[in-house]
């Protein structure tokens, strides 16, 4: 992203901890990444106007929202930023429809750019509209929260770890919805997360924070590979979260065929039908790289790929390979040296069927 939508320079003192960071976010999805307690939510709340920094400036779309120098403070209700809390924070005394309609009703008609019916449709909420919000699953609650925030046609959508308190089975669906929203509605998003996998799946740019300070900022693949974040990133659980098109389904067999990028993968059986899109996760550490096609091997997936980038991060090596889309693979430095891998190398990815986990 080269355009700048949100600029900020924020300092806030807490007992034992100081938030002190600057940034310029573009109009796509930007992640604020870091371990718990590092100031991510504080920064998000400053941007939203729910907290005021001690010092600094915040401006969006050329409009100053906060300035300690001039004493300007625009309250949250006038910033036109949507906010999604970690556990939805739906109004318990209202139905799904009334929750979504709350902000919509407060938005001047001439500013209602997003069509409410289209929004409800996009998030699959039509059958839930009359329900009390207290009878919804975690995934449903989060979708309602997103719809409620978008109903005001916000200029920016802020999300505070929306997947953190969700059951694993819902995360794939929510990620798909968020990607769709980013694509179709073209609303800038700021996404706070401590999960590398989520950040990799959703964000074009990433701001990495540690103890209240910026550690790295830039395009996500670059930031992820930045040695500076080795201390705060847990690469061992790094997953590729991927959209896949169903080519063939189980049909009594125990496997299915999925298309990811330009390649076809043998995955566990699914009850989805051909040409449907599903979300799967593939651990970066579950991919074996080989220079030759292995023979007489149990792994069902042997996929040709091109190495695009190789990065040393801590004591591991991240390899970005291209199969029509980018996948992240994690190997040891030893392996990288032994194989003599470099940018442009042709490799084969060896992946077990079971390593491809269905998320939807």
């Amino acid at each position: 992203m080269t355009d700048t939508f949100l600029e900020f320079n924020v300092r806030k003192q807490f007992p034992g901890f100081e938030l002190n960071c600057q940034g310029a976010f573009g109009s796509g999805v930007t992640a604020i990444f870091g371990p718990s307690g590092t100031g991510k939510t504080t920064l998000l709340n400053c941007i939203a106007g729910m907290l005021s920094p001690d010092l600094g400036e915040i401006a969006a779309g050329g409009r100053t929202l906060f300035s300690s120098a001039t004493g300007t403070v625009v309250p949250p209700e006038r910033r036109r930023f949507g906010y999604v809390f970690q556990d939805a924070a739906l109004f318990p005394h209202k139905t799904v429809e009334d929750n979504i309609g709350y902000g919509y009703a407060l938005t001047p008609p001439e500013e209602r750019e997003i069509d409410l019916d289209h929004l409800v449709d996009m998030l699959g909420l039509a059958p839930l509209m009359d329900r009390s919000v207290n009878n919804l699953s975690g995934g449903e609650r989060q979708r309602v929260a997103v719809a409620r925030a978008l109903a005001t046609s916000p200029r920016l959508l802020l999300l505070d770890e929306p997947l953190a308190s969700l059951d694993a089975r819902y995360t794939g669906a929510i990620i798909t919805y968020l990607k769709r929203i980013a694509r179709e509605l073209e609303i800038p998003m700021v996404y706070v997360s401590h999960s590398l996998s989520e950040v990799m799946a959703l964000a074009q740019d990433t701001l990495a924070l540690q103890q209240g300070r910026t550690v790295a900022f830039g395009p996500t693949p670059t930031v992820l590979a930045d040695p500076a974040i080795a201390a705060i990133a847990d690469y061992s659980s790094l997953e590729n979260i991927l959209e896949a098109k169903v080519v063939e389904t189980g049909d009594g067999r125990s496997t299915s065929l999925l298309k990811i990028g330009d390649a076809e993968f043998v995955a566990p059986a699914t009850d989805r039908t051909p040409s449907e899109t599903v979300v799967v996760s593939l651990g970066a550490g579950d991919v074996i790289l080989s220079l030759d096609v292995p023979r007489r091997i149990s792994a069902r997936n042997i996929i040709r790929a091109k190495v695009r980038e190789i990065h040393d991060v801590g004591d591991r090596v991240l390899v970005y390979v291209d199969i029509g889309r980018t996948l992240t693979v994690e190997i040891t430095a030893n392996a990288r040296d032994d194989l003599g891998l470099r940018e442009g190398s042709d490799v084969y990815m060896v992946i077990k069927t079971a390593s491809i986990r269905m998320m939807t």
Binding site: A48, M50, Y83, P92, Y102, L106
Partner: protein, 221 residues
């Protein structure tokens, strides 16, 4: 049976609670949600009548509402009335002593409303007043109702402040507690007992409803 005293007491307590309610809601909102400067002082002042002997509260009321007091003079000049030794003074006395109970319950009820719900509403375009009316109050109403009842019960039983600023005038300011006091003083035991039974019934009914409301609040979490 001294029906006059019973009805007067109910009237005084109802008016006292009605006066207190909007003030309690306003003060609680300022302290709990707006977190205004000086909220510590406000909290102390609001709780003061709880800690003072009621006669002291009555004395201060007398100073303010009396012949030479600021409000007394103002009322005499504008409306030509004296409030002391009327049922209005009795209602004000009951209001002052029962205010802490009501305001503390309202504060607790508002505090219990998840701040993130209110912040969500703000992010959706609602200003602080709209948030208070559409989110905070609807979610706090059971606790507020319970506080109302507590305040009402206290107002029913007010004696010390009432007798100082309103006197013990049968038919005009002689509330149930005052009537019981007089009956006991005069040795009219049968009358006293009847009034005591009425007084206790009112108290028990109110407390039953109050506890039931609190139970509903606890269950709805």
């Amino acid at each position: 049976m001294n029906y006059t005293a019973v009805f007067l007491t109910l009237q005084v307590a109802a008016v006292a609670t009605a006066i207190n309610l909007p003030i309690a809601i306003g003060v609680s909102w300022l302290v709990v949600k707006r977190r205004v400067r000086g909220r510590f002082i406000i909290e102390v002042l609001a709780s003061l009548p709880l800690a003072l002997p009621p006669v002291v509260s009555g004395y201060f009321l007398l100073l303010v509402l009396g012949r030479d007091g600021p409000v007394g003079v103002a009322l005499r000049n504008t409306l030509g009335v004296d409030v002391v030794f009327t049922w209005v003074a009795a209602a004000l006395a009951a209001a002052v002593v029962s205010f802490p109970l009501l305001v503390r319950a309202v504060m607790a009820a508002m505090e219990a409303v998840d701040e993130r719900l209110e912040l969500s509403a703000r992010s959706l375009g609602a200003g602080p007043i709209r948030v208070a009316l559409t989110i905070t109050l609807p979610l706090a109403y059971r606790g507020i109702l319970a506080g109302l009842l507590l305040g009402f019960v206290r107002a029913l039983s007010e004696f010390g402040a009432t007798i100082v600023v309103a006197g013990n005038i049968p038919g005009r300011t002689q509330t149930l507690p005052l009537a019981i006091f007089e009956s006991v003083q005069l040795g009219e035991d049968a009358d006293a007992l009847t009034l005591v039974v009425v007084s206790m019934s009112l108290a028990v009914i109110s407390l039953l409803i109050h506890n039931w409301l609190l139970q509903r609040t606890r269950n709805s979490r």
